[in-house]
């Protein structure tokens, strides 16, 4: 890890990013009455149910891709990191994330941001569980094998 892990600036910038994520969630709720949960928004585009409201879902997902490019206009660097693992773990992780967020009805944004902000017991339990299994997985991969 870089030396600046605990220096102030990245932490403040991260908090500022968190405020923007919160504002985005508030925007979705105030204007459209929707939870800004990425897995739910994207999942609604998938079979078997043909959704009549696909356009706003595509628009939100497109915005997620445009955001980093706007940052790149200011900083001259696209703020996207590289994967740290190979193809097989990436594909397995993608399947797990897809299956898990569909079964559990939410991810870091839907349960983690919107759900906790609604003081949802379901979201609190979901966040505690996925944080624990994520940290457990990293521990096993990095320190136990």
């Amino acid at each position: 890890m870089p030396m600046d892990t605990w220096s102030l600036e990245p932490l403040l910038v991260s908090a500022a990013g968190g405020v923007l994520i919160g504002l985005s969630a508030v925007l979705m709720m105030a204007f459209s009455g929707r939870i800004a949960g990425v897995s739910g928004i994207v999942g609604g585009l998938l079979p078997p149910v043909p959704v009549p409201d696909w356009a706003w879902r595509i628009a939100f997902a497109a915005g997620l891709l445009i955001g980093p490019w706007l940052v790149a206009l200011l900083t001259a660097e696209l703020p996207i990191g590289r994967p740290t693992v190979g193809w097989m773990p990436l594909l397995a992780a993608g399947l797990l994330v897809g299956v898990g967020t569909s079964l559990g009805n939410g991810c870091t944004s839907g349960h983690g941001v919107c759900g906790l902000a609604r003081l949802s017991m379901r979201s609190l339990v979901a966040v505690a569980i996925f944080m624990a299994t994520a940290a457990g997985t990293v521990f096993v991969l990095r320190h136990a094998v």
Partner: protein, 148 residues
């Protein structure tokens, strides 16, 4: 049309927030999850700012009886645990810890056009579709269990 513009704006703000806060770098996310390693606290600062902002903003939004663009507030239930929620959250966490991508940062990271990230998102969509088809998720069923 106005709801599409609102969603685009919200998506852009979300994408800027994720990418300036380091969440589109899986190394930073995995370092947060690595509590026995050189711990990186950035994700805690993101959540610690996002949740109170949303909490306060929702209080403002809910002062109206309906969303600004019409319709109703679509709110998933907050209480009642079931095996799908618990098992799903457990599986999601395993996938998150394996690669350091959750759905938002993964989709935002498509902006760099990297083949591996496209592969991750494709696998994620396959997983989502499999569950939706197997469990025959319908709008009614989703509003019952809550789509967050």
């Amino acid at each position: 049309m106005r709801s599409v513009i609102a969603a685009l704006a919200a998506g852009i703000v979300f994408g800027v927030g994720l990418s300036i806060s380091g969440m589109t770098d899986p190394a930073i996310v995995l370092a947060f999850l690595d509590i026995a390693g050189e711990w990186n606290p950035r994700l805690a600062f993101v959540m610690g700012a996002a949740v109170p902002t949303t909490f306060l903003g929702y209080r403002w939004a809910f002062r109206r009886s309906a969303p600004i663009l019409g319709g109703t507030f679509s709110l998933p239930p907050t209480h009642g645990l079931d095996r799908a929620l618990i098992g799903g959250a457990a599986l999601f966490g395993m996938g998150w810890g394996l690669a350091g991508y959750c759905p938002g940062p993964a989709i935002a990271s498509l902006s760099a056009g990297r083949a591996e990230v496209i592969g991750f998102v494709a696998a994620m969509l396959v997983g989502m579709t499999a569950v939706r088809v197997l469990f025959r998720l319908r709008p009614q069923a989703r509003s019952r269990t809550g789509q967050a």
